[in-house]
Amino acid sequence: MTERIVIDPVTRIEGHSKITIQLDDTGNVADARFHVTQYRGFERFCVGRPFYEMPGLMGRICGICTISHMMASAQACEAIMSVRVMGTAQKLRKIVNYASLVQSHALAFFHLSSPDFLLGMESDPAQRNIFGLMGQNPEIARDGIRLRGIGQQIIQIMAGKKVHPDWIVVGGVSRPMSTEAQTEILALLPEAHEIILRTLGWFKRTLDSYREEVSTFGNFPSKFLSLVNEHEDVLEIYRGRLRIVDDHLKTVADFHRDEYQDFIGEAVEPWSYLKFPYYKPEGYPNGIYRVGPLARLNIIGSTGTPMADQELAEFRERNPLSSFNYHLARLIECLNAIESIEQLVTDPDILNPRVRAHATANVESGVGVSEAPRGTLIHHYEVDQDGLMTGANLVVSTTHNNLAMNRGVLQTARRYVDGAKLSEGMLNRVEAVIRAFDPCLSCSTHAYDQLALHFEMLGADGELLDEVKRG
């Protein structure tokens, strides 16, 4: 008799989901699915609103990636206005996007995933969380809280608020950088630098203990997608060109954001509210690709900063296809972000007071792209003659990874699930492969609820044989 295991809710991720594992007659894993079970519908209720409201409105999709959504949204609006944002405003936006990346990566690495590394995959789930970590490794927990705090502080200094600021506006930003802000930010960077280097050193040593997880956690051939700098083979988190590489890291597509629908298709399945984007030339579901820190580092030739480039050279020695390496990629991106913020804050042009362009709607469609902490983020808007929204399509970072997350869950379940017996270590490893991608489900489905996970085990006839609920 075949069976199905359900993991519900999936814990220590942003959002609400469940995992089902289908067993065959012999008790082996036949299939596994990652279901996202909530829906909000931002693409619908923005229709009829003036386009220039979009950055403020779309930023409310999420409290973690507010900045990235506002960036992509503002760019889509600027495409509709056909204006060019001044260089200083673009640099100011980049500073805030880098700070957003630091705070989000710190949350993902220290708060959500490090309990697995430090307390063990088999440890008591009641203690395997940030609070358990505080008890056993207070130094690392302190570093995590501090690094996230520094990222948030930089956002607050620049944009006025840590969460949902109104500083990113259509045409640029609402106010220039002051010398006081410049000084305050520069004072924060050395501590952030120290924390990241300390954590990198510790985590690279720790990785040797996780060779099996590296080889089984979402380790499969796929394509990778991210932005790259318009002119150089360098990491880009704001505008730039979109590039897709194959599993040998060879470029298979390099295109302008306006052409994204030529390369990216979006499928839907009845068992999840999360869409399934795919690489169009290979069709659905074969056109699997990944986005986010691992994809970004796999695609670029250089991070653009010296210390992160040293780490990138070491990273190149590791398996580029293992999703477990998302964790290390996150730390390298934090290092690059802090170095980049320092470069930008000391740029001779950064105090220029001209930071906003003005115009009205001049074309009926616009696409904006930014790199959010979790990956490439696309906002595509359409407006009528009066500049009122007639349509919106968001392809959010976590959504791009949907096929890959499902593939990772299946691979990990096949390795660790043993018949109908649910062990804590097995369930946690299946969850942990999802955490490696750091999905943000409130963005990707526009969900509205607390994080949660539900595991279900089903027999071949569909009968529910066992389940575990969390959250």
Binding site: R12, H111, A126, N129, F131, G132, G135, A141, Q152, L451
Partner: protein, 155 residues
């Protein structure tokens, strides 16, 4: 309390969402207090909810005063208690934490047992709107008085 502690500031955290009716009590009281206290001696924060990163600020303060709205049957009724460190860590991570968890996090990370007062007032409504109900506006005035008394007594 050591002599060094006496030189530390007091931290007031008035938390809540001002777009959800009476949930805006904490930020409202914090705003009223900010007009009456020395900003060098009393640091005031108005987050929407308590988060683990506040532990650093709590640890650096000689006393923390939390102000929040709560569910209850008598709108405007005020409660005051001291927050104790929980015996056991919270079972799961979420975006916000309770006052007890904040005390626990502060203790676990910074080896400080914080002196933490919690003032709450029972709300009339948490519906989506700006502004407090008349009962909570009156409670806010009372709370300002109680907090000022606490500040002048020093504990």
């Amino acid at each position: 309390m050591t002599e060094t502690d006496l030189h530390k500031p007091v931290l007031v955290i008035g938390y809540g969402n001002s777009l959800r009716g009476d949930d805006g009590l904490g930020p409202h009281v914090a705003s009223l207090l900010s007009q009456q206290v020395d900003p060098a001696a009393v640091h005031i924060l108005t987050p929407q909810q308590l988060t683990p990163d506040l532990a650093e600020r709590v640890a650096a303060s000689r006393m923390t005063i939390l102000i929040d709205a709560r569910v209850g049957n008598v709108a405007g009724r005020i409660h005051h208690s001291l927050v104790s460190i929980p015996d056991r860590a919270a079972p799961t991570f979420q975006h916000h934490i309770t006052p007890e968890s904040l005390a626990g996090v502060t203790h676990a990370l910074y080896r400080v047992s914080p002196l933490m007062h919690l003032f709450t007032a029972e709300a009339g409504s948490f519906e989506i709107r700006e502004g407090l109900s008349p009962e909570l506006l009156a409670a806010a005035e009372d709370l300002v008085g109680q907090v000022m008394n606490l500040l002048s007594n020093g504990s």
